[in-house]
């Protein structure tokens, strides 16, 4: 599915990611964890095309065998053709647009093709109307999955925090990704919301989408991940199933060394 090999990212004199290699298998929930500043978000930004890596390669293979070199693709093509979607640590919604509009923007490329690239639909030709109806159906599906159906016509910026997080996931899913990258999806959620999130993520996996997530909340990570990669100072220090990682002395040392109680793997 996704294979990262010897990935490096340098900012000036700082080696944010240093020779990282790992694999994420299809249909798995892969978690990337590590103390603050371990380089997790940088890895994400490399995978989703926001940074161009200094070295190494990131390859994504679709189920039909097509391969994409993510490290060399322009940012927007990663979403459009390689079908990798992402959410952001600081939620980035289109705040002044409604929830439904957010979900339709996510289906831009499909809808745009149906408009005859903008020209025909202006004069009312083409098969746009049907395409839009289909897009709204898909939006409704994800609204339902995220429990936002009743808020469909509210501006995204007016939603409560937890709902905004869910909307961001719904929006990413509307792009029909083969892999969804989540940057701290549980940050700021209360235990109940966090549990709902777990269910949502499992449901997404159930629909055939692989997940890659960065998370601090060990409750989420240990319960739903199939595979965990642990980073510290830009390097991989452990890699395996939740049980294996939990028992790895290197992981314990890294976390205890940081002295942050809340981040000790539970």
């Amino acid at each position: 599915m996704l294979s990262v090999s010897d990935l490096s990212m340098r900012f000036g004199g700082l080696m944010a990611v240093d020779g990282l290699s790992f694999e994420a298998k299809p249909g798995d929930i892969t978690a990337v964890i590590g103390p603050n500043g371990a380089g997790k978000t940088t890895v994400f930004n490399c995978i989703t095309g926001f940074y161009r890596p200094t070295g190494g390669s990131i390859t994504l293979q679709h189920a039909d065998g097509r391969r994409f070199s993510l490290h060399a693709m322009p940012g927007h093509r990663i979403g459009a053709t390689a079908k990798v979607a992402r959410t952001f640590q600081n939620i980035r919604l289109f705040a002044g647009m409604t929830v439904l509009e957010n979900l339709l923007v996510a289906q831009h490329n499909t809808l745009m093709a149906a408009t005859g690239f903008g020209v025909l639909a202006v004069v009312g030709l083409g098969r746009y109307r049907a395409a839009e109806a289909k897009a709204i159906e898909k939006a409704k599906h994800w609204l339902d999955a995220t429990g936002l159906t009743s808020r469909g016509d509210d501006p995204a910026g007016a939603l409560p925090y937890g709902a905004q997080r869910r909307l961001e996931i719904a929006r990413a899913m509307c792009t029909d990704p083969v892999m969804l990258c989540l940057d701290e999806p549980a940050a700021g959620l209360n235990p109940r919301e966090s549990e709902e999130l777990n269910q949502l993520l499992l449901r997404i996996r159930g629909e055939g989408c692989s997940l890659l997530l960065i998370e601090h909340d060990m409750g989420v990570v240990m319960r739903i991940s199939d595979h965990i990669v642990v980073l510290d100072h830009g390097k991989k220090i452990s890699d395996g199933t939740p049980a294996e990682v939990r028992a790895d002395p290197a992981v314990i040392a890294a976390y205890l060394g940081e002295g942050e109680d809340d981040e000790v793997p539970a």
Binding site: T41, N45, F50, Q89, N90, R92
Partner: protein, 317 residues
């Protein structure tokens, strides 16, 4: 014989280029002084102060009025008259800068991004027409105050001239920029200004009177622009109410070229724009000198998106 001619030609071409270099640096100093005002305001509140070029124009008019007034009351000792006029113009222009900020920008602090910009454009139109109405639309000529200069070299009838005026402009600019650099890097005022530039909200949480700091930024920027206006008046000998627009656009271009937010960058950008303009006029065509300056800006931005000395902005996602 042919070889000798070639050498003289080359020397002559060199002399011509040297003259252009002198002229370009002089003009660049004036742009640099204005550019500093743009870059300071942009650094602190992130807005393009469109009225800044017009403050420069107001400064030039104030200098003219002061010089005429001093001549009328019989003060004709040139160095003292110049110094007094410069101080007067800088002081009153600073008052204009303060007023513009207070009236048109402060009420819009924290407002939507485009509101201060439109307000600034309104202020620019206001100042231009205010001077046009009060002082008339005609160009104002001023007889040379500091005529003469030194001849650096002469070749085949072409003399390379460094006028007293050019020497004065370069010296005054360097002194003023020196004082300014000292102010920004070594004084508590400069420290608060830099703090506000880094993070306005945090600075205000730490008890810095940000309104006062922003006002002072406008005051200092306006005073520097007035110095530039003063030198423009003396160097070219004619001014009108419209000089602020073109000079302002060029100076802002200089600030962007140098890397907006960077003070040394503003001066460097000013010098570059001045040199480009003068060399283009000398070797290609006077008519298209503005086109040259702007085109080079566009090209430079494509290859150096943050300007020459600007900080690269890594976008946080």
């Amino acid at each position: 014989m042919v070889a000798l001619r070639a050498i003289t030609n080359r020397v002559c071409a060199l002399a011509y280029a040297l003259q252009q270099l002198i002229n370009g640096v002089t003009l660049g100093m004036i742009y640099g002084l204005i550019a500093v005002g743009y870059t300071m305001v942009y650094g602190i509140i992130g807005m393009i102060n469109f009225a800044h070029g017009d403050i420069f124009m107001v400064g030039a008019f104030l200098s003219l009025i002061a010089l005429l007034g001093l001549a009328m009351i019989g003060l004709t000792w040139v160095p003292v008259a110049l110094a007094l006029a410069l101080i007067f113009a800088a002081a009153i222009a600073a008052l204009y800068g303060w007023t513009v900020e207070r009236v048109a920008y402060r009420p819009l602090r924290g407002s939507f991004r485009l509101a201060p910009l439109i307000s600034a454009i309104g202020m620019s139109i206001t100042l231009q027409n205010y001077v046009q109405v009060s002082q008339g639309a005609r160009v104002k000529p001023l007889a040379a105050v500091l005529p003469g200069g030194v001849q650096l070299m002469e070749q085949d009838g072409f003399t390379v001239q460094l006028s007293w005026m050019q020497i004065a402009i370069v010296i005054v600019t360097i002194v003023i920029l020196g004082i300014f650099t000292w102010l920004v890097t070594r004084t508590p005022l400069g420290r608060t200004m830099r703090a506000c530039e880094q993070d306005l909200k945090m600075a205000s949480l730490l008890g810095i009177d940000t309104d006062r700091t922003i006002s002072l930024t406008f005051v200092i920027g306006a005073a520097l622009a007035a110095v530039a206006g003063f030198m423009f008046l003396l160097y070219y000998g004619v001014i009108d109410f419209y000089i602020g627009f073109i000079a302002g656009v060029k100076a802002f271009t200089a600030a962007v070229l140098g890397g907006i937010g960077s003070l040394p960058g503003a001066v460097l950008g000013g010098l570059l724009i001045g040199l480009i303009e003068v060399f283009w006029s000398a070797y290609f065509s006077v008519e298209y000198k503005d086109v040259a300056a702007f085109s080079i800006l566009v090209v430079a931005l494509i290859f150096l998106p943050t300007g020459i000395l600007g900080r690269a902005e890594v976008e946080k996602v």
